[in-house]
């Protein structure tokens, strides 16, 4: 017995040492390789899953880069659950462990990091390599923080729309709404006809935030939002009150239990003909094409409805560059810079080839292989207005957004009054000035 225990201890000791050593040897061997062959590992902490086309494209480009004499290994560590990604990134940075490359929205957090000199200035970088003009301004400027600085490069170009079930609309005798009032009216008619008017993935937070932001955007453009973030406006101001009222009205047309419905389930409700409308963005376009849509389901889409005497136009709506790519200035040496330059110069055509809207201008002459729906949406983006709506979760402080996310479902369900909601948000705004 004694022997056995001894052996177990011994093995345990060896294993634990092994564990420690393993991480150690790994780094050692990388260092050794570095000296021998100059393979440079770039660690990219990503909020997208490794099979996402953005990541696939980056790996393709890295391969190409290495074929042309480069020596980079792009190690993608992905954390596809967005909430935990944000938390993890913040903990890593707080612990002094900033990755070489990571995803970052132009949030107040990014501003803070930038002020501490912890982010690479992309304006300077793009100017230096002369590539700024290659970007679609809408996509690039989406990454600007509220003080106008650019710390990230966009990897996508997305727009958001609301899909609707054509047959249900016909049955209810209505057409795609042009204004927010019409939208509410349509919902009412649909509900009377026995349909779930609006299917939404409320469990993931952002779809509800988009609807909340609609009224203020139509009334003031992004001005109200910017003022909110600077502490110059309150939720109890007119646009905020309108927004809250709108949510309390449209909320009664959501599917029951929407506050824990995930996006995939929300999408599926619509695709299986259980809800009449569904808000989403171009990243889900694939599900709506003639080829992939369930048979017998007729759908169409409309963009953000307008209001009377609004400040923004019909062709101003949700459009953005997605969460951007940020670079750790501490590891951004010449080799890394050369690699990033290569990415900037080659990314968009490669990404476009995967049938996605790209953040840079690409040659679209040969598009015969693309799905007609994709081409139609692409055509829409060519006519997009100059003011793109900015998502609230990018502009406002995390704590304020957390408060909104916590309180919005109750408002939509009619369990909280608009006053309760406004009060809670204003308290959070006050506390985070």
């Amino acid at each position: 017995m004694y022997k056995k225990i001894g052996t177990i201890c011994l093995i345990a000791g060896m294993v634990l040492m092994g564990c420690g050593n393993k991480a150690q040897t790994n780094t050692n061997s990388t260092e050794a390789e570095n000296k021998d062959s100059n393979v440079r590992e770039i660690h990219y902490f990503s909020s997208r899953s490794a099979s996402d086309d953005t990541m696939v494209t980056l790996q393709e480009i890295t391969k190409k880069y290495n074929e042309q004499g480069g020596n980079i290994k792009l190690v993608i560590d992905s954390n596809a659950d967005r909430t935990s990604y944000d938390q993890k990134l913040r903990t890593m940075i707080a612990g002094g462990q900033m990755p070489d490359m990571f995803d970052l929205d132009a949030t107040p957090y990014a501003t803070e990091l930038g002020e501490q000199g912890m982010l690479t200035d992309m304006d300077a970088f793009l100017d230096e390599i002369g590539e700024k003009d290659s970007y679609i301004p809408l996509a690039l400027n989406y990454g600007r923080t509220s003080d106008g600085k650019l710390y990230t490069l966009p990897l996508e170009l997305s727009t958001e729309m609301i899909w609707y079930n054509v047959d249900m609309f016909k049955d209810a005798g209505i057409e795609a709404p042009k204004t927010l009032d019409e939208l509410l009216e349509d919902c009412k008619v649909l509900k009377e006809k026995g349909y779930t008017a609006f299917g939404i993935g409320g469990g993931d937070g952002w779809p509800l935030l988009r609807l909340l932001a609609t009224y203020p955007f139509r009334m003031t453009g992004n001005e109200y939002l910017n003022k909110l973030s600077l502490g110059e406006a309150k939720m109890s101001d007119e646009p905020g009150v309108k927004a809250a009222t709108f949510m309390s009205e449209i909320g009664q047309y959501f599917q029951p239990g929407f506050s824990t419905t995930d996006v995939a389930t929300g999408l599926n409700l619509f695709l299986s003909g259980k809800s009449a409308m569904y808000p989403t963005g171009t990243w889900e376009l694939n599900y709506f094409t003639d080829k992939n849509r369930p048979e017998g389901l007729n759908v169409d889409y409309f963009y953000m409805p307008t209001i009377k005497d609004g400040k923004t136009n019909e062709n101003d709506y949700w459009a953005f560059g997605g969460i951007g790519l940020a670079v750790n200035p501490k590891t951004f040496d010449d080799q890394y810079k050369d690699y990033l330059t290569f990415i900037v110069k080659n990314y968009s055509p490669a990404y476009f080839a995967h049938e996605h809207l790209a953040p840079q201008k690409v040659d679209m002459s040969d598009n015969s292989s693309f799905d007609p729906l994709f081409l139609k949406v692409m055509e829409d983006t060519n006519n997009i207005g100059s003011t793109a709506a900015r998502p609230w979760d990018v502009v406002l402080n995390e704590d304020v957004i957390a408060t909104i996310n916590d309180n919005l479902p109750g408002l939509c369900m009619g369990e909280e009054t608009t006053d309760d909601f406004i009060k809670a948000v204003d308290e959070a705004l006050e506390a985070n000035k």
Binding site: R90, G257, A402, N407
Partner: protein, 289 residues
């Protein structure tokens, strides 16, 4: 015996556990106390604010709500685990065949990761597509409920998951204790004409009082640690109706990056935990003497 007072040996036996435990569990708690007096967002400067975070805490209506919810949460979890665990254990003692199989089957949920369990129950509670519970409600002619969105049901729904998952553990503990009660005594009581209920209340329960106490501790501390189920199912929502202290702390620290405030909540949780353990261990000492 002298050999049992060997200081060096005591150190050899005790120190590894003592050091690991102190450095990884206790020191961070002290550090948390320090952090709780700071205003720190994780990247900027740490500034000392004294007891400000605690003062803020007592004026925070969400904190008060989380506190109240947490107590309800603990009660639900304990009632489910101990109540069901005990009842089933008693029933099991009357079983003659297939006991092993049933025990094994009842225990299975306890070994499954809470991530999977909470995912699964989100589906059970779902309204659209119709979840299992709502299918039952419909069969019984009742209106479906969106359990996880409804203010009245959400806390119960979330707490029941953790309660349900670990019933098996308490069932096994209780069962083991119950069968260790001497069958002769039970038989004697039966011959004297005692009903099974009387036997249960007058003989079996007193005989396993210690085990019941131990189970109460295990269940209480398990419930106090509850976090993953509410976090994964509702994130404390809607409107904090299923918020408990741990989820609120986590959100404040890691979502809102208010590490000082989050640490203050953490300290409150620790104080509660220590009070809980002291009360219970005091009670146990009393029993032993």
């Amino acid at each position: 015996m002298k050999i049992l007072r060997d200081k060096k040996a005591i150190a050899v036996f005790l120190l590894p556990a003592f050091i690991v435990y102190s450095v990884i569990v206790m020191v961070p708690i002290l550090v948390s106390i320090y952090y709780s007096c700071l205003d720190w967002n994780g990247i900027g400067k740490k500034s000392f604010v004294g007891f400000n975070n605690y003062i803020k805490l007592f004026g925070d209506s969400v904190f008060r709500q989380a506190f109240g919810n947490n107590i309800i949460y603990i009660v639900i979890v304990m009632v489910l685990q101990l109540g069901f665990g005990f009842s089933i254990a008693v029933l099991l003692t009357y079983l003659k065949k297939g006991r092993g199989f049933i025990q094994t089957a009842y225990y299975i949920p306890s070994v499954i990761t809470v991530i999977a369990i909470s995912q699964l129950f989100t589906g059970f509670y779902s309204y659209e597509p119709l979840g299992l519970f709502n299918i039952f409600r419909k069969m019984l002619g009742m209106e479906p409920i969106a359990f996880l969105s409804d203010y009245k049901t959400v806390l119960w729904a979330v707490a029941s998951v953790e309660g349900w998952q670990y019933i098996g553990i308490y069932m096994i503990i209780f069962y083991s204790a119950l069968v260790s009660v001497s069958p002769d005594i039970l038989e004697a009581a039966r011959i004297d004409g005692a009903t099974e209920l009387q036997i249960l209340v007058k003989i079996r329960i007193p005989a396993i009082a210690n085990v019941i106490m131990l189970s109460c501790i295990l269940s209480l501390v398990g419930a106090l640690r509850g976090f993953a189920a509410p976090m994964n199912m509702t994130k404390g929502g809607p409107n904090h109706r299923s918020e408990i202290l741990a989820t609120y702390m986590y959100k404040k620290a890691f979502t809102s990056r208010d590490y000082g405030y989050g640490s203050a909540i953490a300290v409150i949780i620790v104080i509660l935990s220590i009070i809980g353990v002291l009360l219970i261990s005091k009670y146990m000492d009393g029993e032993n003497e």
